[in-house]
Amino acid sequence: MFFLISGLALGAVQGILFPLSLWWLCTLIFTVAILSFYAYRAHSYEALIIALFLFGCALGSWRGEAVRTPAPLTFPFNTPTFFNARVTAPPDERESFTYLTVLPEGERSRVRVRAPLYPTYHYGDLLMLSGTLTQPEPFLTEQGTLFNYPAYLARNSIVAEMTVKEIELMEPASRSLLGALYSFVDVLRTNIMSVISEPAAALGSGMLLGDSASLGKDLSDIFRRVGISHIVVLSGYNVTIVSEFLLRAFSYFLPLVRFSAASGGIFLFVLATGASASSLRAALMALALLLARATGREHDAFRALLIAFGTMVLINPLSLTADPGFQLSVIATAGLIFLSTPIEVRLKRFIPSRFIRELVATTLAAQCAVLPFIVHLSGAVSVYALPLNVLVLPLVPLTMALTALSAFLVFILPVLALPSAFIATLLLNFIILCARFVERLPFATVSVPALGTSVTLALYALGGLALYWRYHARSTP
């Protein structure tokens, strides 16, 4: 299993970075065939492992090759142009403008359109756009690291940006499941904002429904600097909370009903909130957990992570190389799986309360795991991230539940939602206040030289080896 997936990842990276020769692929497949035949005949475990690894490689490079070069657009760049295009993702509303992802008619790649906030458009609308197309360029971040913006866009098959002059709605969206889900989420968001005031409302709906952009640049920067942006953005963590909640909610039903209702709920939730790679990762892991429970098999979190990771790489290999959210989510989960128990055992002497100890251990595990990657990404370290996380994280499930409760109560009668909305507002403002306070402390973020890609990879490889050695030494006395 492990070897299959690692082969897959390696192959995908190779496929994305370098063109693939048919001969190479054929040789790989031929070797796989021979090795598996040998493994079958000689009952050789080693041969099987190598065969699986190579098979993963082949599969990965094939998928990587498929997405390596997105189809170019037929429109001219850098001169005024116009075309009809359909909106293919829920609009990404920022503070003073909106990003629309559109697919021009008759094209296979998408365009990211920077449009005014108003009027608003919806998923599925057909628009007539006029403006100027530009090629996305890599840019320097505040910390001085180079951000590969084109690759980041390309993972959603976006190959161009457009500054728009005029937009005309040609044909409103026809009915679709996704459209209905997105508008339902919009209604929930409006409900939240009708009973919770800004900026708490933006934080609440960001946590619950994944609309972090409307928080504003100022606040999201603060959250990022102090190291709690993972709770603000709808990340794998939040999806895990929602799926836990769904599981509990359906726990009184028959197993079959429970399984289908909970997995259906998770599926719809992830779809409705934009299906980012990190939330898909969490949803797949939750599904694996459900399956394990339903079939009565032993649940192995690492295996679930591997399955989720492998599926994501197969679906969109670019999320492996160009989606920091997905990368962080996978690394943090791996950290939770392998590091939290050893850390907790060591903390036993210092922290008597089990609740706090587990909290510190899980936070520490995830933080340790992502630290090199964060330094690689941003070249900065949030010094107080650990205590802040320990303070804020336990509040997150409660805050999400209260925000959701308020959003649904508004449907019945807005006044009913006021008590829960009030407590939610207090909690949300408390989180914002904590972040603002910590941000002003001396040395809240320390700039360090950004780690290069190879150094980061080497660090993780070393860490992985150390873990492997440790676990292996334990299991074979």
Partner: protein, 284 residues
């Protein structure tokens, strides 16, 4: 969590009730009695002023360009208050009315005041659609009109004094004077120097105000020397975005204000600027 609730359901019901009581008292205690509040909201490059009369009547003048105004309103308005009595859109430029669209969408607004000029932009068309959609009464602002906010607070419209159709948008900006007792605030939108000259000719001494919002975010096209002299403010509040691409406020304007000894507060440097008046003096 749930198990805990089940275990201590009596105390949890009690604490819930206590919270509800706190929630009511919160509203009572934090209401500022007997004071006029004027908040220059920190919304980046643009204008947005929130005004609350001592009796709780509310007015919003402009909304900035985007949704930042919502967060600002959330912090200056009482919890769960989702209505504003009057909204003024001084002129159709996006950095003044863009943010009014989400405001009209989220808040119940009883009336909107406009200068009557038009802009052929996507933002302005969206605003018109929103006003029509929400069926908000539109009032054409003309010189001599007085908005009586009650409790002795009035907003007198000084400009436009003529038909604004076809005018350049900045030139059509609504200019008004907010008065409470002996304290006055002069709000000028983006009015250029030509409008300032007209105001001096028409109003003369009546322009005198305690606080001036220099026109057009402190651009050199507004706030002439003679205008500052006539208004004679103690304080000027400039609404501009940090490091905006127009270089607002311009040095010429700051020099003029300095010449007359006017204290300057800026939203790009000081954040939200909140003034409070008891009818005798303005504090900030």
């Amino acid at each position: 969590m749930l198990a805990l609730l089940r275990k201590h359901y009596r105390s949890s019901v009690l604490s819930l009730l206590a919270l509800c009581a706190m929630f009511v008292w919160w509203g009572v205690l934090f209401a500022s009695e007997g004071q006029l509040v004027v908040a220059f909201l920190n919304i980046g490059q643009g204008d947005a002023m929130y005004i609350e009369a001592p009796n709780g009547n509310q007015m919003l003048i402009d909304g900035g360009s985007g949704r930042q105004v919502l967060a600002e309103l959330g912090s200056v308005m009482p919890f769960a208050d989702r209505s504003i009595d009057v909204v003024v859109g001084t002129h159709p430029d996006a950095d003044h009315v863009g943010g009014l669209i989400p405001v009209l969408d989220r808040y119940t607004v009883s009336a909107i005041l406009e200068p009557g000029s038009h802009a052929d932009t996507m933002t302005y068309r969206a605003l018109e659609a929103e006003i029509q959609n929400k069926k908000i009464p539109r009032i054409l602002a003309r010189r001599g009109m007085v908005i009586d906010l009650g409790a002795g607070v009035t907003f007198t419209i000084l400009y436009p004094d003529r038909d604004t159709a076809g005018m350049e948008t900045n030139e059509s900006s609504i200019v008004g004077q907010l008065r409470y007792g002996s304290t006055t605030v002069l709000l000028t939108g983006d009015a250029p120097q030509s409008v300032e000259r007209r105001l001096i000719a028409r109003d003369g001494e009546r322009l005198r105000s305690t606080v001036l919002k220099p026109g057009h975010h402190g651009s050199r096209t507004s706030t002439s020397d003679v205008f500052v002299q006539r208004v004679g403010p103690q304080l000027a509040v400039i609404s501009a975005g940090e490091a905006n691409r127009y270089g607002h406020p311009h040095a010429e304007v700051l020099t003029i204000l300095q010449k007359y000894g006017v204290l300057v507060l800026r939203t790009d440097k000081d954040g939200r600027v909140t003034l409070k008046s008891d009818g005798k003096e303005i504090r900030w």
